[in-house]
Structure formats: C-alpha cells, structure tokens
C-alpha cells in the first residue's frame, strides 16, 4: 500500500462491564501491527466514547461488551456519531454477543462483530481493508 497514514483506533468499554482482557489483548495486537491505539478504560458512556473518538481523531472505534448490554449501547454510539457528523469513523464490536443479535447490530451501523475465538489477525486485516 502506498497509503502512509497511521491508522488510529479507540478501543472502548461502554457500560458497566469490567471484563477487559479481550479489549486489552486486542489493543496491544493492533498496536503491535503498527496502529496507534487509545484505550478508554472501563465504564464509558456512549457520549464519552464519541467525544474521545472525535477529539483523538480516530479512524476506528472498537467496542467491547461482555455483559449483554450491546443491543442498547452499540447502536447508541452510532447514533451519537451521526449526530456529530462523524459517521465516517468505522465502528466494530466484540464480546459475548449471540449470533442472532448480530444482524440487528450491523443494520444499526456496526461494521463487523467479532465473537470469542476470533484471531487478532482477522481483526487487523478487517480494519486495514476497511479504513479508507
């Protein structure tokens, strides 16, 4: 690729869920693959996440939830991005997310949902091929 811009990613934990092993492993894998990665830490509201994403001028937001609150919190992030005219940011999600919820999340604007067992290389490839 001739594109030299470094991809910037915000890894975020929306909601009250404290499980961030996956979020941290992915943050590190993305960083090791040459991206610039910011991790929000726990308990972020969708508002805080969107604000951080815009302030940090990221290309990608990676949302991680294992508590089951994804159907409410993921679409809320997309909604706020649209309100702020920032829908060009690619939003991906991961965590314990039942298959049957995935079509709904994609329809809401989540580009891809990565469930347990996904190799980090697959996520890296997805980001690299989807960030313009």
């Amino acid at each position: 690729m001739s594109c030299t811009k470094t991809i910037r990613v915000l890894i975020a934990k929306p909601g009250l869920d404290g499980h961030d092993r996956g979020a941290k492993v992915i943050a590190r894998a993305l960083r090791d693959s040459g991206m610039e990665v910011i991790y929000t830490g726990l308990r972020q509201t969708p508002e805080q996440i969107v604000e951080a994403a815009i302030q940090e001028d990221v290309d990608v937001i990676g949302l991680s939830i294992l508590s089951g609150a994804h159907n409410f919190l993921f679409p809320r992030v997309i909604e706020l991005l649209k309100e702020k005219n920032a829908q060009d940011i690619l939003v991906i999600g991961g965590g314990v997310i039942p298959d049957e919820d995935i079509p709904g999340l994609k329809a809401a604007g989540i580009a891809e949902v990565f469930t347990p067992g996904t190799p980090t290389s697959k996520i890296i490839d997805f980001i690299k091929s989807h960030v313009k």
Binding site: G15, L16, D17, G18, H19, D20, R21, K24, V25, A27, R28, A29, R31, V37, Y39, T40, G41, L42, R43, T45, S67, G68, A69, N71, F72, L73, V96, P98, D99, E100, T115, P116, G117, P119, T120, S121
Partner: protein, 559 residues
C-alpha cells in the same frame, strides 16, 4: 519409596536409561516439541522421579490432613466425612425469576446458593440510574432495596441453606439486607452461614466493579470483619479471589501470588484497625479458578494452602489453627470455554472440576457449556451440576484424601508454584504491599503480559484449543440460549417508584443523614447501614451518600 537403594544409584540408572533406551528412540522419533510447558509456562521434564523431590521433608511440607501446613487438606476426613458444597452461581432478571432458579437448583440437589447480582447493583446504582440503562438484570439479579431481597429469598429457609453473594464494593449493604430478610424469617444473624465476596483489591486489578478509593474501601471491609466476628460466627467475611485474576489472563502462579498478596493486605488492614488476628482470620475464605492443566491445577491448590498457612503462622503469628487454614471455593474457568462446538465445554468443565476436587476444594461451581455464548439455560446448568455429582458419587476420587500426594510430578509442581508465588509476594512487599502494587499497575501489567502471550501462542498454533484453532467444523448458530427479558429495567423502575411512594420517607431521610455523619467518623458503619436498609433506603441512595463522603476510585489505565 524408601531407602532400599541410594539416590545415587537411582541417578545412575536414570542416566543409563537415557543413554541406552531413550536416546535410541529420540534419534529415530523426536518428540512433538523441543520443550514442554504447563499452562502457566513452567517447563515440564520428560520424567519425574524421586530425584525431583529428594529434599522434601514429608512431615514439614506435607503433614497430615487437618494439620499444619494443610498441604493435604483442611479437614482430617475431607470428602469421606462430607462432600464439598455444590454451589452454582446464578441470578438474572428480576428477584422473582432468580428466586425460581434457586428453587430449581435446590430441587436438583444443589446444597448451597450463590447469588449473582447485575452490574448496577454491584456498582451501587439503582435500576433507574442513567448508567444502568441496558444493564439491569443482565449478568445477575437486580436488587434495589430490601423489597427485592425479600422476594429473592422468598420460601428459602435461611437457617438451612448457606448463601454466597458475589458482591464487593457495596458488600456491607447487601449483607445488611440479608440479615434483615433473615430476621423477618425469624432467623438471627448468628445462625446465618454463607459468604460475601467483599474483595475490593481484585476489583481494582481485574474485575472492575469498584466504587470507592482504596482507603474507605478497606475501612468498609474491616468494619465487616469486626461486625461479623461479634455477631455472625458462621459467616465468611471475605472471599479473597484469584478467580478473576486468572480469568483476566494470569498464570496459575500469578493467581496464587496475587491472591495471597491481597490476603496479606486485608490481614494487615484489620490488624491496623485494632483487631487481633485470631478474631477474624478464621473467617477469611478464598476463591480460585480451575483451568485445564489438571495436574498443575491440583498442585496450585496444594501450594496455595501450604503457603497461606506459613504466611499466617510466620508473618502474622496466628495461634488459632483455623487462622492458618486456607478454605476455598472453586469455579471452573470461564475463559477456557469456547463458543465453537460448545458441547466440548462439558469435557473441559469435567477436567477442571476434577482438578478442584483432587485439590481439596470446599465448594464448587461448574460452568455450563453455553457460557461463552450467553447466560446458561436450565438444561446446561443441570448438566454442569450433574458433572459434580458424577465426580462425587461415581469417580471414586473422593474415597481417599489428597490422592495425588506423592506423585513426583505433582509434588514437584506444588513446590515450584509455592516458590515462584513467594518470589512474587516478595516483589509486591518491596513495592509497598498489594494496594501500592495495584496503584502502580504492577499486577495489571503482569496479568496483561500473560494474557497477550497466551493469545499469541494460540494464534501461532503452539497452543491448541480444540474447535478453535484445530478440529474446526462449520456450525449452525446454537439454539435455546437464555434471553433476559428486556423489560426487566422497566419493571424495576416501576417497583422503585412504588417503593418510594409507599415507604416512610422521613425515616429514610433520617437514616441517610445518620449514615453521612457516621461515614465521616471512624465508627463502624454496619449498624447504620442496617438501619438504612431496614428503612427501605435504596442501594443507590446509600451508595450516593458514601460516594459523597468517600469519593470515587479512578483507575489507572495500562495496555
């Protein structure tokens, strides 16, 4: 074993075997890997013999069950006397739904309850708080006030069952609610048996449901120690937890080391608060994980028991033998479950449960096969419980105590884990203790490094996870997963409204005012929290007052 021949002779014969037999085979058929490791990256030798444990003193290092250093178990008869408590962690949706699940579990032969609370409850928000949106009833039951707790335990005799509650930052409040429900059943606090998790340090390290900064959090914990030592002699005041540390990616060695380091911090805090060690230490309990490396896990439990006994005796000068006994609950490893081919998880759970039993656990939760996908369905929970029952009644491993003792490999691993955990604890001491080490992000960084290494090993194929990076199949999406009613949040909000309009709001205001006053002093908070709870103050109202006085914890972020 014995003195029939000298160790010199054994060494010679072993060398002889290597040179003649082994090398011949190796030259034709090399082994699968150049080096072998346990799950925790301890290098594993090809063969263990007496040479690996030649320096061990049986009486000093192993001893007898029910006697110091408790390597072989905390009771003299272990499972020959009484089996472990079969305790499935459960709770979701409303108090009504969870109450039904508990009655189902008890009817299936479960012997103790274990309450899962939803995240708003664990973080001290009522169900109508803006941050609760989407989370109410999801990972556990929603409890906003004593009203919900009364429903949760309706028809369950609290003098007959023991109840474990996974609650940390607001542990004092939920314990008070439990006491209040029991009183309504005519059961006094001294008759109650059970456990509150009450372990805030591991929340900072790994689990994330903290509210207050370390200092007031430690005060709440020692307040509970003190209150229970006087009023609740059968209650485990804390469950010092390695479980979540392991889930976050720690190795078995780190799990033992960081858990016991946290334990040391609690003992020190209580002594500093003026309690004497033998007044509270007998009611400290522990909570560990069980992963797939069967023999390493068995060794881990044995090493933890021995190390804690030595710490209590040597470091804290405990005199009561019960202060030195590490009693523990085990849960099988959630992070080892795969979303792929979920029925395979039944086998993983069996291995892990076996490790816990061979390691001498006092109680056990076996995970359900579908937990990498959703909360477990009733069918899956039944299989998980049956797994324990088959081990208990059919496998035969319960009929003698600590059956793997004397295995060269298991004893060698037990020694290694103890020694390496001790090295970590020394390092943490040098950093100023567990609380300081956490503040500096030391434990977090160590755990993250292990988690990352594990993931990279899976991705490189050096570590095989069946169905994930080998033996994959095309699968249909699983059916019959449990769905939490999305209306739970709305129902809870309605219940809260009703409560606030029907309770004595003057008494509520007075109780909360008194709480604020006591929080500002050094007095024990338990009596006033009990008063608040009995006046039907909500969990969120109580926590808001404490947030106002204590402030909130801000985590340091490391990746």
């Amino acid at each position: 074993m014995g003195d029939k021949y000298s160790l010199e002779k054994l060494k010679e014969e072993k060398k002889n075997w290597e040179e003649t037999k082994l090398n011949k085979v190796l030259s034709k058929h090399p082994e699968r890997y150049e080096k072998f490791y346990t799950n925790s990256n301890i290098e594993v030798e090809r063969l263990y013999t007496e040479l690996n444990v030649q320096d061990m003193d049986y009486l000093e290092e192993l001893g007898f069950p029910g006697e110091y250093p408790y390597t072989r178990g905390v009771q003299p008869t272990m499972y020959r006397g009484r089996l472990w408590t079969m305790r499935q962690y459960a709770g979701f949706g409303t108090a009504e739904e969870s109450n039904q699940r508990y009655k189902f579990l008890l009817s299936q032969g479960q012997t103790g309850l274990s309450v899962a609370f939803d995240l708003p409850t664990q973080i001290g928000y009522d169900s109508d708080h803006p941050l609760s949106k989407g989370e109410v009833g999801k990972v556990g039951v929603a409890i906003d006030s004593l009203k919900d707790m009364e429903i949760l335990f309706d028809g369950i005799p609290l003098d007959k069952v023991s109840t474990s509650m996974t609650i940390n930052a607001p542990a004092a409040i939920l314990l008070s609610m439990y006491i209040a429900v029991a009183e309504k059943q005519g059961v006094s606090p001294d008759e109650l048996s059970g456990t509150i998790q009450n372990d805030i340090l591991k929340e900072y390290v790994a689990r994330g449901t903290y509210i207050f900064p370390p200092e007031p959090s430690m005060r709440l914990i020692t307040n509970i120690f003190e209150f229970c030592s006087k009023n609740m002699p059968k209650w485990n005041t804390i469950s010092i937890s390695g479980y979540h540390i392991r889930e976050a990616g720690a190795t078995a060695i780190q799990e033992v080391a960081f858990t016991l380091a946290d334990g040391i911090a609690y003992v020190e805090a209580a002594i500093k608060a003026g309690l004497s060690v033998d007044d509270f230490a007998p009611r400290l309990s522990f909570f560990f994980n069980a992963h797939n490396d069967l023999l390493e896990e068995v060794a881990k439990f044995r090493a933890a028991r021995r190390l804690w006994a030595k710490i209590m005796k040597e470091r804290f000068n405990a005199k009561d033998p019960r202060s030195m006994m590490l009693r523990f609950h085990t849960q099988t490893g959630g992070s080892t479950l795969t979303a792929q081919q979920p029925d395979n998880n039944i086998i993983r759970v069996t291995i892990q449960a076996l490790a816990a039993v061979l390691g001498g656990t006092q109680s056990l939760h076996t995970n359900s096969r579908d937990e990498a996908l959703a909360l477990p369905s009733e069918d899956s929970v039944r299989i998980a419980l049956r797994t324990q029952q088959i081990i208990a009644y059919e496998s035969g491993v319960t009929e003698t105590i600590d059956p793997l003792a004397g295995s060269y490999y298991v004893e060698h691993l037990t020694n290694t884990i103890e020694q390496k955990a001790r090295e970590y604890i020394d390092k943490i001491d040098k950093l100023g203790g567990a609380a300081k080490a956490i503040e500096k992000g030391f434990m977090q960084q160590e755990i993250q490094d292990s988690a990352y290494r594990y993931q990279m090993e899976v991705e490189s194929g050096r570590r095989i996870v069946v169905g994930v990076n080998k033996f994959q199949i095309e699968e249909e999406p699983p059916k019959g997963l449990l769905k939490v009613d999305p209306e739970v949040g709305i129902m809870q909000e309605k219940k809260l409204k009703e409560l606030k309009s029907s309770r004595d709001n003057i008494a509520v205001g007075q109780a909360l005012k008194e709480l604020e006053q006591v929080a500002k002093t050094d007095d024990n908070l338990m009596p006033v929290i009990l008063k608040c709870v009995k006046s039907y103050c909500t969990l969120g109202e109580i926590c808001d007052i404490l947030r106002k006085v204590f402030g909130e914890y801000k985590a340091s972020i490391t990746i």
